[in-house]
């Protein structure tokens, strides 16, 4: 039997010829994650703000978003492409990702807001700050580091799940993984570059969050 070259040599040769494609796929991957996280943030923080003070709605929101996360991703993708207007491709992937991103964001928003020292809120109220001013100027800024941690967790989660989105023709590094014809010479290299790409992306995003945290958290609570 002829000796096959070690896996890393194969990967290297593969990337030599295709790196531009891989980078493009990584960018597509990042874009779809960013869109999903943004939508999920708007919905999740909104739900958190609306429900953190009342027990029943709060429990309900946490239960529902928690349930989303338990649906296997392949199943959810398959269900979503049946929905009129979604179909195969990016739209269905984004909807699924938004659903998966909700729990960490809602949860951390609620926890963050509930952890704000009641004495601080009371003194704000006692000085004549209305409900909206209290929320924007006091409660959300104080809860922000916790909310941001939620966004970070959601982002990492979605980077992984987005790869599976290629199963229903979603854009991103998943293509490399799903298109690999098993057994072919390049299959291993393709899957490896897809997987490594996801990991590199995750590390980059994490770094971005460190920077965001640094610049958006008040010096007084760092």
């Amino acid at each position: 039997m002829p000796e096959t070259p070690p896996w890393y040599e194969g990967l290297w040769t593969y990337l030599e010829f295709t790196w531009e494609d891989v980078v493009q796929l990584a960018i597509d991957h990042a874009v779809i994650v960013i869109i999903s996280v943004l939508v999920s943030t708007v919905i999740g923080v909104g739900l958190g703000v609306l429900t953190y003070q009342t027990e029943r709605p709060r429990e309900l929101v946490l239960a529902v978003t928690g349930t989303f996360l338990t649906i296997p991703s392949l199943a959810l993708f398959t269900l979503l492409i049946q929905v009129p207007g979604l179909g195969l491709g990016a739209k269905s992937v984004i909807v699924a990702l938004v659903m998966y991103g909700l729990l960490p964001i809602v949860r951390n928003t609620i926890v963050g807001l509930r952890e704000v020292d009641p004495a601080i809120v009371e003194s704000a109220k006692g000085m004549g700050m209305g409900r909206v001013a209290r929320l924007w100027r006091i409660e959300l800024p104080l809860a922000w580091p916790v909310v941001l941690t939620g966004l970070r967790v959601a982002t990492l989660l979605l980077i992984g799940i987005a790869a599976i989105g290629s199963y229903i023709n979603g854009p991103g590094l998943g293509e490399l993984i799903f298109d690999a014809s098993i057994g072919s010479a390049a299959a291993l290299s393709e899957v490896l570059s897809g997987t490594l790409g996801v990991i590199v992306l995750a590390v980059l995003f994490d770094f971005v969050y460190v920077v965001i945290t640094r610049f958006t958290t008040s010096k007084g609570i760092r």
Binding site: D117, A119, I120, V121, E122, S123, A124, K125, G126, M127, G128, M129, G130, A133, I138, P141, L142, S218, K219, G220, I221
Partner: protein
């Protein structure tokens, strides 16, 4: 029921007429039949409270925990909405006005202080002026003015964050923040409660000095009768459901408690507490032989011979007390040693605005029978000894009893 309530009502009336005499009848805050029932509780937390708080005074609400004093206070700025009754601020019924607008007119300090940790000290203080839409320049000037007023250097502290301050400094910023828009009324809920005793004492004194200048109408909640006596122009002792057991000046409450509840609450040692009411500047200072620290031993010997005291007080060039030196010290030290290196340290030093209680405390902890009185630049003024304090207690008591007898006669005349 009848006995105690009558007495309480009497002293109520006395207090109100006192205020009328002193201040032309100005009532800053009036609470009328104020009540609060919390849902799910059988008894009301505050039941039918009527009370008048005179302009420019510190009125203390004091009582055992759960008596409704904090609830009462929080109804004034409607952090807790009253179930019934009305609140008047300077004659205006504020029971139904917009609560946010109302609160911007009332300074509010709570025990935890509640500074906003994520904004700078300057922005903390600027909270209400910003809500009121002041111009930037005016706000910044006001912030500096307030920081100076509470004894903090604006240049140093303006841009710091609350976590960088000590407990006492945070408390000062809390007070500055509450006064930012120059409210006429301040509500203070155990403002010194979370601070160590030594700092608390200093802050209390500072606050009293400040109040002499700013003359706010202050409602001050505490559970500590000693703090009430020290800080209050008037004290309302509350029993459960905020029923007034006695509303009167500290002197009259101490000398003439309305009933057993009040007497119990004041506790034993009421005459000792009276020492918190008089200050060093109110008593006659004695003089003591003093000598400059550069002087020779001969001069000390000469002073001691010409005096009935056994020691002299050594002062430095700015007349600040340094040491107590007696003949024994001189003998043991041998000739030529400077006086500042001999004798005992000049401890138990107080300023004229210290209470006699503080003074006595200083003496006891220094184990001296005299306290040295100094002015604000720490220069020697005179001394107060333990006999003076003793005599003061006795004469205060005599004077107070005499006055009360006269007042009672007047009251009787009015009743008949």
């Amino acid at each position: 029921m009848t006995d105690t309530d009558d007495t309480a009502a009497d002293s109520d009336r006395a207090a109100a007429s006192d205020a009328g005499g002193a201040d032309g009848g100005t009532i800053e805050i009036r609470l009328e039949n104020l009540a609060k029932r919390f849902p799910g509780q059988r008894e009301p937390a505050v039941d039918d409270l009527t009370m008048e708080i005179p302009k420019g005074e510190i009125v203390i609400l004091v009582g055992p925990s759960g008596c409704g004093k904090t609830t009462t206070m929080k109804m004034i700025n409607r952090i807790i909405e009253p179930s019934s009754g009305r609140i008047f601020l300077d004659g205006e019924d504020v029971t139904k006005v917009n609560p946010d607008q109302l609160r911007r007119r009332i300074g509010y300090v709570i025990q935890q202080i509640g500074l906003f940790p994520h904004v700078s000290i300057a922005n903390n203080i600027a909270t209400v002026p910003k809500l009121l839409g002041w111009e930037k320049k005016r706000i910044s000037e006001r912030v500096d003015e307030l920081l100076e007023m509470v004894g903090m250097d604006p240049g140093q502290y303006r841009d710091r964050y609350p976590k960088e301050l000590s407990g006492g400094q945070r408390q000062r910023v809390g007070v500055a923040r509450a006064m930012s828009a120059d409210p006429d009324v301040m509500l203070m809920d155990e403002p010194f409660g979370a601070i160590d005793p030594i700092t608390r004492d200093r802050l209390q004194n500072e606050f009293l000095r400040l109040q002499e200048r700013i003359k706010k109408t202050i409602i001050f909640v505490t559970h500590d009768i000693d703090e009430a006596i020290k800080m209050g122009d008037r004290i309302a002792i509350l029993r459960e459901q905020s029923r007034i057991a006695q509303f009167d000046t500290p002197e009259r409450i101490l000398v003439n408690p309305a009933d057993d509840f009040v007497a119990d609450f004041i506790g034993r040692g009421a005459s000792l507490k009276r020492l918190s009411l008089s200050r060093v500047r109110d008593v006659e200072l004695h003089q003591w032989p003093t000598v400059e620290q550069g002087a020779g031993h001969d001069e000390v010997h000469r002073l001691l011979e010409g005096s009935d005291k056994s020691a002299v007080l050594v002062l430095d060039s700015q007349r600040r007390p340094v040491k107590w030196v007696n003949a024994d010290h001189l003998r043991r030290a041998g000739h030529g040693r400077p006086l500042s290196e001999l004798g005992l340290p000049a401890e138990a030093v107080v300023q004229p605005n210290a209470t006699l209680s503080d003074t006595l405390n200083e003496m006891l902890s220094a184990r001296y029978s005299t306290a040295i009185v100094v002015d604000s630049s720490n220069a020697y003024q005179g001394i107060v000894d333990i006999d003076t304090i003793n005599e003061t207690v006795r004469s205060l008591r005599r004077a107070e009893q005499g006055r009360l007898r006269r007042d009672d006669d007047v009251d009787d005349d009015e009743d008949s």
